[in-house]
């Protein structure tokens, strides 16, 4: 009888191991990021501005040229000869040979770039997904290979800075080529910049886009944060980059990946 118990226990154990390994949190090519807190780079004053982020799914890889080509095939209005300039500027998909041909010099598995926010958003919505928020993206990007908070490791921050200081290359490598972080998300740093759903939430405290108040606020805030936490420097660069973006803007180093709510 004892043996019976042992065996059934063993079976249960095996089953539960198999079950636990089954990537129930993975919906196809997405990875679950557990709930967490994201502290924005610059804080206006004494009020707590940290953002509670619910658990969510994020694409393992940035969206590739090939994947975007499939989308464009199904959605003629997003072909580069059709697209409305309000939604994507003249550099949109300019590295592709034509509307439906990538061309010899374009790696199909490289992240798609020269993409506007509107185009990225439309792609995501066509799959029932959305773009990640800044808070979500930053939360997922904090992790290095072994730790959810990689920023605690100065080496990790150095690596990111090193990438930022490299000029962007015309021939991007395939997705998955940089590194896989703690959550199983690839290429969060080191491949392309990525669009976020609410990139426009950067730089909102200024009275106008024209006056100098914006920059003053930006640099004041950064000064005080930077003094205590050097590790935020790459985050500052991303912040500055997002502040410079317009929704129809495209560039060869800016791509995207999708996110999704859980439930």
């Amino acid at each position: 009888m004892k043996k019976l118990f042992n065996i059934s226990f063993l079976v249960l154990l095996i089953v539960s191991i198999v079950y636990a390994k089954k990537p129930s949190e993975h919906i196809s090519d997405m990875v679950k990021i557990p709930a967490g807190t994201y502290t924005p780079l610059y804080v206006n004053d004494t009020t707590d501005q940290s953002v509670q982020v619910d658990e969510f799914l994020i694409d393992k890889y940035p969206v590739t040229n090939q994947e975007f080509l499939e989308f464009v095939k199904k959605n003629p209005k997003w072909r580069k000869s059709n697209v409305n300039k309000l939604f994507a500027d003249e550099r949109y998909l300019s590295h592709w040979y034509d509307d439906l041909t990538l061309g010899e010099n374009v790696n199909p598995d490289a992240p798609v770039t020269n993409i506007s926010w509107f185009a990225a958003k439309a792609y995501a919505e066509s799959l029932g997904k959305r773009l990640p928020t800044v808070a979500e993206w930053e939360l997922a990007a904090q992790a290095d290979e072994s730790n959810p908070n990689g920023y605690a490791n100065p080496k990790y921050v150095e690596r990111i800075l090193e990438w930022y200081s490299k000029p962007s290359t015309k021939n991007l490598p395939a997705v998955g080529s940089v590194f896989k972080n703690y959550y199983g998300v690839y290429d969060m740093h080191g491949l392309v910049w990525e669009w976020t759903a609410d990139f426009f939430n950067a730089l909102v405290s200024g009275e106008s886009r024209a006056d100098g108040g914006i920059n003053r606020n930006l640099f004041c805030g950064t000064g005080s944060v930077g003094a205590t936490d050097f590790t935020n420097y790459p985050a500052f660069m991303r912040f500055a980059f997002r502040s410079s973006l317009k929704a129809n803007y495209t560039t060869e180093s800016l791509g995207f990946r999708c996110a999704k709510d859980i439930n």
Partner: protein
């Protein structure tokens, strides 16, 4: 005999577990498919659906109304963005719980209204788009209009989905961010759209000089931003 029963029980347990796993997996699949369907059937924003043909003449390439999004006004009536065609629009984005900046922005728009003649006002509409669709129900927007003494024959307040609001804001270069206390930080920009919905002028900052804006509104010809 004992050995046999052990094996049978083990197989039974295995079978049950496998069934359980398969069942949960299919239900996950089914629910994610259902979710996808839901998302699809939801009103799609500008960019995910093909634009419907507009009954009037075709919209210009630069018309913000290319977004073709659906909105609800302060009376709960549904309108499409293209319904704003035909009159010049003086617009900004607000949230009704805003205690400081939004009333000033609205007041800036009212200053423009006060300076236009009756004749000029016939060709002009004042539109406020909310950036806080969760709290700004049509009732709430109506209440805001009443508190601000807005003449609802010339003013309208519109709400929509988060995604459609973000699209419109993006086209107008209007930046906003939700703060932890539920309020929003946002740009202070008043935009002027011509009869076709093209952005022809923007006035940035609070309590600015309105002469230039007035000139643009009065001028029948399109002007650059």
């Amino acid at each position: 005999m004992k050995k046999l029963s052990v094996i049978i029980i083990a197989i039974l347990i295995l079978t049950v577990s496998v069934i359980y796993i398969v069942a949960t997996e299919t239900s996950v699949d089914a629910s994610s498919r259902a979710e996808l369907q839901d998302k699809k059937s939801e009103k799609e924003s500008c960019c995910s659906s093909d634009m419907e043909e507009v009954s009037m003449s075709e919209l210009s390439e630069n018309s913000l109304y290319q977004l073709n999004s659906d909105w609800t006004n302060q009376f709960g009536n549904k309108i499409n963005l293209t319904d704003l065609r035909g009159r010049k629009q003086i617009v900004t984005m607000i949230f009704a719980n805003c205690t400081y900046v939004c009333p000033i922005l609205v007041n800036d728009m009212r200053r423009i209204e006060d300076r236009l003649s009756k004749e000029e006002l016939k060709n002009v509409q004042f539109t406020l788009f909310t950036i806080d669709p969760e709290r700004d129900t049509p009732e709430k927007l109506k209440e805001f209009a009443q508190n601000q003494n807005l003449n609802l024959s010339r003013w309208q307040l519109l709400t929509s989905s988060k995604s459609d609001i973000a699209d419109l804001a993006a086209l107008m270069g209007f930046r906003y961010k939700k703060e932890n206390d539920g309020s929003y930080s946002h740009s202070n920009i008043i935009s002027i759209l011509n009869e076709e919905g093209e952005l022809i002028h923007q006035q940035a900052g609070l309590s600015q000089e309105i002469e230039k804006t007035l000139n643009v509104i009065r001028n029948q010809n399109k002007q650059g931003v």
